[in-house]
């Protein structure tokens, strides 16, 4: 009698043969899926590497950047560079003004609206090891260096004139009464002294964009003057002594250095001490004190064991006396201070007759004796 043997191998082969169509479809599907995934991983990896290289090329030797929404003292750069604590960790600190603005070809009116305008001095060119480009930008001269990306778009060559229009930083917001609306733009007519390649300093940008930055390089002093920000900048570029060193350690050292070196002026703040009155006033040239500054100030007052009286002083169009429902005398453009009398020392806030003011009702206002006299108010 014939012996029929059955093994796992026979069953497996039989199954593969019997289900070959479905098996082939699964294999092809898996192959196509794998190929798509592997391809995507390769492309993604390559794209990530390309973007990383692009970003590093734009930063050049810059390891850290401090970019601020407000202008601060240019001298802060030197102070940080010379700080004993940071000396071993920092190679250089370069101050500059960095803004977005419109650049126009003075002859053809070709315009680039969102160009990167950099106010730089020799320290910037040294950072990128291009001292020869510094010479092209006379410190006090009305010249500008462009990179090819911007020059191409404007259609300008060396010797052509361009117009620069930049937003002027104001101390008070434009939407407030105190904001100046008549002087919001700085305009400069400059002659192109050199056009540099879009690499090294010519490619420098802090923004992550695939397209090359379109940059104009202006003398730092000229730009500061045009913006009304003499000796002030809004960006610091820091090169670490050892770029391969632990970034977090250098970062925290920089934070510590900044904490030590910044002054109230860097925050547009002034502390006025009235020895006679026995009080100090913290004022901001930006009209309103930013919430973080307010918190820090109140915390400091608490630590020092002092009393604080937050107040808001603003401009009133007019103060008018109303008698029998009819408007009477008025004082135009007065300042009005909002404050809590209960938090003011009694001797600082008194009635005309010398008695202490205990409280101020929600629908009440105090005016001083001169205003009362002018208005005929009681």
């Amino acid at each position: 009698m014939e012996t029929i043997s059955l093994t796992r191998k026979i069953v497996r082969n039989r199954s593969l043969r019997f289900h070959w169509r479905a098996g082939l479809a699964v294999v092809l599907g898996a192959a196509a899926g794998s190929a798509a995934l592997i391809g995507a991983l390769f492309v993604g990896d390559s794209m990530r590497a390309s973007l990383r290289n692009l970003a590093l090329a734009r930063l050049g030797p810059v390891d850290f950047a401090l970019e601020s929404g407000r202008f601060f003292r240019e001298a802060l750069a030197d102070e940080l560079e010379e700080s004993a604590e940071l000396k071993s960790k920092i190679k250089s600190v370069c101050p500059l003004v960095m803004l977005r603005g419109a650049v126009t070809n003075a002859e053809t009116d070709a315009r680039v609206n969102d160009a990167q305008v950099l106010g730089v001095d020799v320290r910037f060119w040294q950072l990128f090891d291009r001292p020869e480009d510094a010479a092209a930008m006379a410190e006090e001269g009305r010249t500008v260096v462009l990179n090819w990306a911007l020059a191409d778009e404007l259609g300008v060559e060396k010797g052509d004139d361009v117009l620069l229009r930049l937003p002027k930083p104001g101390e008070a917001p434009l939407e407030t009464l105190l904001g100046r609306r008549d002087d919001t733009v700085a305009s400069l007519r400059l002659t192109v002294s050199k056009i540099i390649d879009v690499k090294a300093a010519g490619a420098f940008a802090l923004q992550q964009k695939q397209a090359a930055a379109r940059s104009a390089y202006v003398s730092l002093a000229v730009l500061q003057r045009a913006l009304g920000q003499s000796q002030r900048v809004n960006t610091l570029l820091v090169t670490a002594a050892d770029s391969n060193a632990n970034a977090e350690s250098a970062d925290s050292s920089l934070d510590g250095g900044l904490d030590e070196k910044v002054t109230l002026s860097d925050f547009n703040l002034k502390l006025k001490v009235s020895e006679q009155g026995g009080f100090a006033t913290l004022e901001s040239s930006n009209l309103l004190i930013d919430p973080p500054v307010e918190s820090a100030a109140l915390e400091s007052v608490k630590v020092l064991g002092l009393e604080s009286v937050p107040n808001l002083t603003y401009l009133a169009n007019s103060i008018t006396v109303v008698k029998d429902g009819e408007p009477g005398s008025a004082i135009p453009y007065s300042t009005v201070a909002a404050l809590d009398p209960a938090r003011i020392p009694a001797e600082q806030f008194i009635h005309a007759d010398g008695s202490a003011i205990a409280e101020l009702a929600d629908d009440a206002i105090f005016i001083h004796a001169w205003a009362a006299e002018d208005l005929g108010a009681k």
Binding site: M1, L6, V11
Partner: protein, 225 residues
């Protein structure tokens, strides 16, 4: 003598969102060697669940099952699989033959873990001769009728000479003539092989051919009068 199957207070319930669904309540039964019994009851009463518990394919919520004196649910999974392969044969409503394997190969499938191919082959051919398919050894399942396929399934269930043969609606998919043939064959082989047979069925004709008949009602197993 040790009973072929002994179930003691077997209960089975399934958790649901509201309250647990109780399918079997305190089922107790003892089957002697070579006994043939039928379990009947309306659809959804728990017949197949009970058969699956007897076949160790499902675990009871509570209660004890012994097959040939051994408690299969105390075994670990690989040992239980070996126990099931050696002691229990299954015949389902669907034949579940592998379409890529011939008739004799299908019968030999449960013997794959064993080594003695000559003995296995002889046993398979003997069984196929007994079920009347000795001339169709190399045929594929697709070349057989429904009744013939079910006969192959019976031969496959008996290839390891199990102590317990479980059949779930074995004639459910067959015409009356084929159903009668398969039922007769099942009982003949059960006697010849000295196997204990448990058949779950809706068919009164098939149930009547068994020595005993039980009915499941409200989860309880009771002898049918």
């Amino acid at each position: 003598m040790i009973p072929a199957l002994s179930a003691e207070s077997i209960s089975k319930q399934y958790p649901t969102r509201s309250s647990p669904l109780v399918v079997l309540r305190e089922v107790t039964i003892e089957l002697a060697e070579a006994e043939a019994v039928a379990i009947v009851g309306p659809s959804g009463c728990g017949k197949s669940t009970l058969l699956n518990i007897f076949g160790t394919l499902e675990t009871p919520t509570s209660g004890t099952l012994r097959i040939s004196g051994q408690e299969p649910f105390s075994l670990d999974e690989p040992t239980l699989a070996g126990f099931r392969n050696q002691h229990i044969g299954f015949v389902f409503q669907e034949h579940h033959l592998l379409p890529q394997c011939s008739v004799i190969e299908n019968v030999l499938i449960p013997t794959l873990p064993q080594d003695d191919s000559e003995r296995r082959s002889a046993r398979a051919m003997q069984l196929l001769e007994r079920v009347g398919l000795s001339q169709r050894l190399k045929h594929l399942p697709s070349e057989l009728s429904g009744g013939e396929r079910q006969r192959v399934a019976i031969a496959r269930a008996l290839i390891n000479s199990p102590r317990l043969l479980l059949a779930d609606e074995p004639t459910g998919n067959l015409d009356r003539h084929s159903a009668d043939d398969v039922a007769a064959l099942l009982l003949e082989l059960q006697k010849e092989e000295n196997t204990t047979l448990v058949v779950v069925t809706h068919s009164a004709a098939l149930a009547d051919r068994m020595q005993k008949c039980y009915e499941i009602s409200d989860g309880r197993l009771e002898p049918r009068t």
